[in-house]
Every structure is written in C-alpha cells, then in structure tokens.
Symmetry: C2
Subunit: 257 residues, 2 copies
C-alpha cells in the first residue's frame, strides 16, 4: 500500500522513473477537486503493470505530469471468469458492472436475450464504471466491458473449454449446487489446504427479469459446457443474482479459496 | 403461484373469505396505477399467513376491498440471521436493506460505529424498502428494520448464543473461511445430503468505509461469539460485502443448502 490518498487508473505504461502525462480531466480531478500539490503522492495502475506510487511533478489547470516512483503492489489478475448478463434498468446495469469489477470478473459481457428490454448500452459509460470500481476497491486490473452481443450468436461460437454457470430461475428452491453440478471439484471450498488447480475458463450467465425463453433454456440445457446452478429458494433480482453468483463462484472455484 | 399480476404486502390477517380493506395509497396503486378492475386477482402476504390469492371486491378512488380466496404459498421464514451494517450513503443504504430482504435476512440492524458517517436513518423509509423487496422477490416474510443502534451498546448486551460472522477488512486476502472459522460444520455446503441441523442464531456484521476502530476490533476479537471471515482478496464496498456475506452464509449454513 502507498501513502497516496488518490488511486488513479491511467493508460500509460508504469515503471521506475516513468513520467505519466495527465489528461485534462485527470488534472482537474487531482488538482482542482482533490487539491493535490507538487510532490503529493498518487497511486497509479493501468491494468498491466501493478500498482505504483507516483508523485506530482507538474500541476496545471489543463494538464500535468506524474512521476512513477516505486511499485506498491504487483499485478493481480482475476481468475478467467466472464460475467454474462442481460442489461436492465440503467442504475442496476451500472451496479452490475461495478460489482463484477469489485468481485473479480475478468470480462463483462452484456447480452441481448429474448426477454431483454434494452436494445443498446453505453459501452463507454459502463467501462468507466468498471475503471472507477477498480480505483475504489484497490484492484490492479480492470475488466473489459464488451459491447452488447446477442446471446444466441455468442452461444453459437462458444469455446468448448469454457464452462457456463447458468443461474437458472427454474431451479429456485431446487438442490442444485455449484459443486455437485460442476462435478470433479471437491465440495470443500472454504477449508484451509493446498492450492487447488485453476478451475480453467468459466462464465456466469444471469438472466433478464422474466427469465430465459423456452428456446434459450432448451439451447442452454443441450450445451455440455453449461452447469445449471440454483441461487437459493427466493427469487433474486438480476443485480442481486450477479453478486451472489460471483460470490459462490469465487468462494468455491475462484480466488477466495 | 397465483395468476395475479400484483403482489401486495398488507397488515391485515389473511385467511379464507377474509375481507382486506385497502388504504388510500394501496387503492391508488391497484386501481389508478395498475388499472385493476373488480374480480381481478391480487397476491397478498402479511409476513405471517403465507401468500394468498385475493380478488378485488370493491374498487374506489380512495379505498376498496379485496377478498381472500386461497392460500397460494405457505409462510416461509428465513433462517435466524441478523444483518448488522453501518449506514452509508443513502442509495447504498437503501440497496443493502433491499438486498438483505431478498437474500433472506430475518432482521436488519443499522449500527452506529466509530467511523459511521450517518447520525440518523429514516427507519420508516428503510422498512418500506424491505417491504417492496419482499413484494418483488416473492417472499412471504418481511424482515424488521431496527432503528439505528450504537454498536458498542448492542455488543454489551449481545446474546450468548448468537454468533457473529464478522466481515473483517483486515482479513482481506487471508485464508479465513466461514466454515473453518465457525468450526464444527463440515465444509461441504453445496453437496446433496441429509438436512443438517439449523445453525442456530447468527448475525453478519459489515463495517463502514474506513473499517472498524482499533477499540471496536479489539472488542470484537474478545467476544466468543465472533467468527472473523474474509471476503476474498479484494476490498469490497459495504453494499457488495453485505450481499457477498449473505450469499456465503446462506450457501454454507442457511437455506440455500
């Protein structure tokens, strides 16, 4: 950890002595909003080079430069986990992206399903939410937010080795756990013990309000990669389901173990 | 399930043939907003008598009456789990209450800690959020939202038999799992198997931004009921931590098993 009060995502490479020129927005935030002066410490990460302590070398109204000093944390990649979800109301979609970044998803894919209300998303705005979440939660990695993709097309080209944890509304109340369903993994996610092998590529699929269409359900059930999982006996809103599914996956198969 | 398009929480008793008079707000919602007419079905629950199918018997601008027909779901109580959290910004506090109701907390207690920003809460507004969440998620139970209580006072009278899953920021990245920490429960929360005994009274404690003070931490560590639990290697916002902790608890000890 660094003594910096501000954590900032930048796109430039980070390394010892590396100067980091600031955009106008960044300069406004650091010098106008946060009132940092020359010599003040800032924590930087770019999603590739870990976290670095930098100092303000030049501060201006429209720009400025930081100077990278020491690495304060190595790059920490999340497991190879994608989150697929059907965009819902704006605030809840923002929330899902923020939470997925906090919870350690590697890639976030908004998908268009039969019952998805949303025709389009603002990919740039969602990506900015992912950046902000990483800044806040001390992450050194920012998940990519993909453009809205049609679920059917996505599944048509689905990689053979990427399993899908399908959070299926029809399983509400059923006894379908992640572990028994995934098979091959021992159901002892929380025990102290030797590090188990990486679970390999996975995705979590969360449905829209109203669930999946019958065709979509049948399609998913036919896919060998798909692991239907219940999220308990209550119906969860999509945003709750996303956080709950990420928690289950991370605690059983991911980097919470 | 009922054919009703609307689920409504009411305070009156529910039973066969039971008339349910409506408040002005409820009448406005059912007849003004949702445009229900005489004979239309409404799903009712009151937190005590399960879910009932009722029909509109009288519809007026300022009131009306529903008539209870058949029970469509029994009362389903959540496990004896409290959620203690330090209120944060308004939107995130609302969110925590909504999620706690969805995830099956039995009681929600906003607590004032050393580093809690909030001096007061609107208990009535938070309770309304819990009701709305239960209406949306098909619950038949509504958790009580308590008034803001001082954590120190709460802990001074803490019941000897109620364990506290303490989500401790200082454990970020440590290997402290719920199961190994709780002890006595086998770490196989997701396996098919005979129903295990109820875990007894529990509470989840989520800290404010900035965490707990040193005095609070020392106090919690001294309590026999306290089980410190890590929520993975990333720092989570309080609202994320609440959903993640509820997921862990429900899947390992609660009614997701």
């Amino acid at each position: 950890m660094s003594d910096a009060k501000v954590r900032l995502y930048v796109e430039q490479p980070l390394g010892p002595g590396q100067p980091v020129p600031l955009t106008q927005d960044q300069a406004h935030y650091l010098f106008g909003v946060m009132r940092l002066a020359r010599g003040a410490a800032v924590s930087l990460f770019n999603g590739r080079d870990g976290e670095w302590r930098a100092e303000v070398a030049e501060a201006g109204k429209r720009g400025g430069t930081l100077l990278c000093k020491d690495q304060t944390a190595p790059l920490r990649l999340p497991p190879d986990l994608w989150l697929l979800f059907a965009p819902i109301k704006k605030a809840r979609t923002d929330f899902i992206v923020e939470k997925a970044a906090e919870m350690g998803a590697a890639r976030i894919l908004p998908v268009q399903t039969r019952f998805t209300n949303s025709e389009r998303i603002r990919q740039d705005r969602l990506q900015a939410h992912a950046v902000e979440a990483a800044e806040q939660c001390g992450g050194t990695f920012v998940p990519e937010v993909a453009d809205l993709t049609n679920l059917e097309r996505l599944l048509a080209d689905w990689p053979a080795d990427r399993r899908i944890m399908w959070c299926d509304e029809s399983l509400v109340g059923a006894r379908a756990g992640l572990l028994e369903a995934a098979g091959g993994f021992e159901a002892r996610g929380f025990e102290e013990g030797p590090k188990r092998p990486s679970p390999g590529p996975w995705a979590i699929l969360i449905g829209p309000e109203g669930g999946f269409s019958e065709e979509e359900q049948a399609r998913l059930r036919r896919m060998e990669q798909v692991v239907p999982v219940s999220l308990g006996p209550r119906i969860l809103r999509a945003d709750t389901a996303a956080v709950a599914a990420l928690t289950l996956w991370q605690s059983v198969l991911g980097d919470w173990r």
